[in-house]
């Protein structure tokens, strides 16, 4: 280890160790106390609006000087409305039911032992994110609501904004007499700081959640020695079955792709049954093109819809996050399911059909975090699921898949109440 790295490790441990201690206090803090901290944090965000805006202006200036793309600068920018939305978001999290202490199951054994499975906090969560400074408030609020301590590590682009928002969150913790380290913040933007978090400080960190571009998520998934909740990409499919209602197919395909092209639940590939390619399929493609979407199709699609350009193999496994869609002709539901299985990312897929049996087969056989029937893939979102808010979407197989809300940020333990039972 270089001397610089030893200094960084020491600096990081000064952040992670207090977070670990805070987790022990949070384990027994009440829901009222955690909610009071969140409401006070929301008030502090509003009270410090000027300081947050001025920190944000500094970040935006740096970004413009570094010739950051205007769309990226926009993601970074805060204004009165965005700050109010951020404060309101923290209050909304406070208003959610307490996820800690929920009795998930309870039963009595023949020997009289009373066994309950009870939700408990996970512990210390490290959140590694980029760009949007509102994540500082959102992630801090969701982790605290679920009784976890969190170590926030935002991107260097938003360093001053993040620090100003973090200061408001800490003010909330202080008002509720909770440890300030419950929501900790890594100011150092050295890339090695992330590597240290990923090595977990010998068990002090229980979970890593990355949120940002594909390269960040991939680095976290590849390097982490701590469990990770994340999705690398959302290659979401809409499948127009032979028995699709044409109006639903058109509305769902256009909404799934074009409502917002930059979200992970946006459709990237459209599968169309050969039987309806020149009827419903063609109408759908015309709608998409009219909405400004570029169509990349296989030979049959290009023949049916000449404005389409030819897709190559990479198109079937590309998350465009843009107004582009790959369109493939399939020979029935088995072909559609096989394509999704081979080239999907196990995020969200939707079948459009009026045939209940086909729909149920698709819902049963497709192995993605979210499978849908006659609904837009853009519903892949914690708020749309009724979870209140999400810290992200998971496409791994363990613990939580799909939207990760406050309930998914808890684990559980077994509480066994006896009257002196011993095991024969």
């Amino acid at each position: 280890m270089t001397i610089a790295n030893a200094a960084l490790a020491s600096e990081m441990l000064d952040i992670v160790a207090p977070a670990y201690k805070a987790k022990k206090v949070l384990r027994t803090a009440t829901g009222d106390q955690r909610n009071a901290a969140l409401r006070a944090a929301a008030a502090a965000i509003r009270a410090h609006k000027k300081a947050i805006l001025s920190a944000n202006a500094a970040d935006a200036n740096t970004a413009r000087q570094q010739k950051m793309a205007p769309a990226m600068v926009d993601r970074l920018l805060l204004d009165d409305d965005r700050i109010e939305a951020m404060a309101k978001g923290v209050e909304d999290v406070a208003a959610l039911p307490d996820p800690v202490g929920r009795e998930l199951a309870r039963w009595t054994r023949p020997n009289g032992l009373d066994i309950a499975r009870v939700a408990t906090p996970i512990g210390v969560i490290a959140m590694i994110y980029e760009s949007r400074p509102n994540v500082t408030a959102d992630a801090g609020a969701l982790c605290l609501k679920s009784g976890n301590a969190v170590v926030l590590r935002g991107g260097s682009d938003a360093r001053f904004s993040n620090a100003a928002i973090h200061a408001a969150m800490v003010e909330g913790l202080r008002a509720a007499r909770l440890p300030e380290a419950s929501i900790s913040f890594v100011r150092n933007t050295d890339r090695d700081a992330v590597g240290m978090l990923l090595r977990g400080f010998n068990g002090l960190i229980d979970l890593i959640i990355p949120r940002g571009g594909k390269s960040l998520v991939k680095r976290v998934q590849d390097e982490s020695q701590v469990p990770v909740l994340a999705h690398l990409e959302g290659i979401c499919h809409v499948y127009i079955h032979a028995k699709a209602d044409p109006a639903k197919a058109r509305a769902i395909a256009v909404n799934s792709k074009m409502r917002r092209t930059s979200v992970c639940g946006a459709a990237e590939t459209l599968l169309i049954d050969r039987a309806v390619l020149v009827t419903t399929g063609k109408a759908v493609l015309a709608d998409l093109a009219a909405a400004g979407c570029e169509i990349r199709g296989d030979d049959d699609v290009c023949a049916a819809f000449p404005a389409a350009r030819k897709a190559d193999y990479e198109d079937w496994r590309t998350e465009y996050l843009d107004a582009i869609i790959a369109v493939k002709t399939v020979d029935g539901i088995d072909d559609a399911i096989e394509h999704i299985d081979l080239l999907g990312s196990q995020h969200t897929e939707s079948i459009v059909t009026e045939d209940r049996a086909a729909a149920e087969k698709f819902l049963a056989d497709v192995d993605s975090a979210i499978v849908e029937w006659n609904a837009s893939t853009q519903f892949a979102d914690g708020a749309e699921f009724g979870m209140g808010a999400e810290i992200g979407i998971g496409t791994g197989r363990l613990h939580a898949r799909g939207p990760v809300g406050v309930e998914q940020l808890t684990t559980f333990k077994y509480v066994v109440r006896g009257t002196g039972q011993i095991r024969p």
Copy 2:
């Protein structure tokens, strides 16, 4: 990679790739089909009893030639009763309710979307284990029951026994027309084969479950790039509170330690409130000593019970798995909880008390997979919890803690049924 390793990698891929394909078939196989395979496997175990016993005799001979300790040879040995118990165990797993397809939650959104959280198989599980050949049947049965494909990698000590039992399991799969690779077996006992499984073959393996000694589990936890469900050790505590019923304290302490000393739920440390050290505490220590248990105590314990020898720091964090117990005097419940927090392994801890408020504090504040009130720690077992059988115990924080039964061997997906909803 050496040429030998390239050959091994190719050999391993010939096992893992078919298991990956089998997982896709298992995803849509019915519970009846999986149960039929298990019942046929149980029948095959009985039918091939002679072959299994002769393979086991070969393993035992090798073990004796290599001067294996008699207790270890005993763990390896099969006889008529043990084979019948193994077959019966597989039938018992078949008789459990189907964990796949369970509706874990279901709700309707204001926009009419019907959202269900449904249990699904995890995928491909690699099971890495030592010694006892019955794990081949147990783990194969539990994974198949929960719709998973499994790659079994047993220890070299039981190589012939494991292969013979595996052949019977495959006969069951064949009878039910399920892919033989649903329960796959690694014959090669090269240590590098384990390393390859731990690297996950680029996502083909979804979960690793190690079962065996501490060095095996530690290697798996340290090296695995795939999620692991395991416990490294069970440093379980019994805490005798000042208001403990003396009879319950004596029965629970002796049962927790001495019923079977080799199980992970066996107590390793006894904490005694100073207020009852020379009363209830002394009686408990006399019972333990009379049952053949060595007592290692702090100064106060040694003063109260002169037959105790002095404990050193290592005793507070040692999993003896033997007739030895470390005994510490504590100054009340906070002191006890702090000791467990600092030196426990988050497995199973029990408080003995008649004071409900103290019990509930202990149950709430101790952060272990299983927390108990007035019950033996040796209840830390899937069958005792009513899960039917367990593949192991988890002390990690994510997905499953405590006994891992067939329900814990599933994950879930969201099934969303709409009528054409698009997102505003």
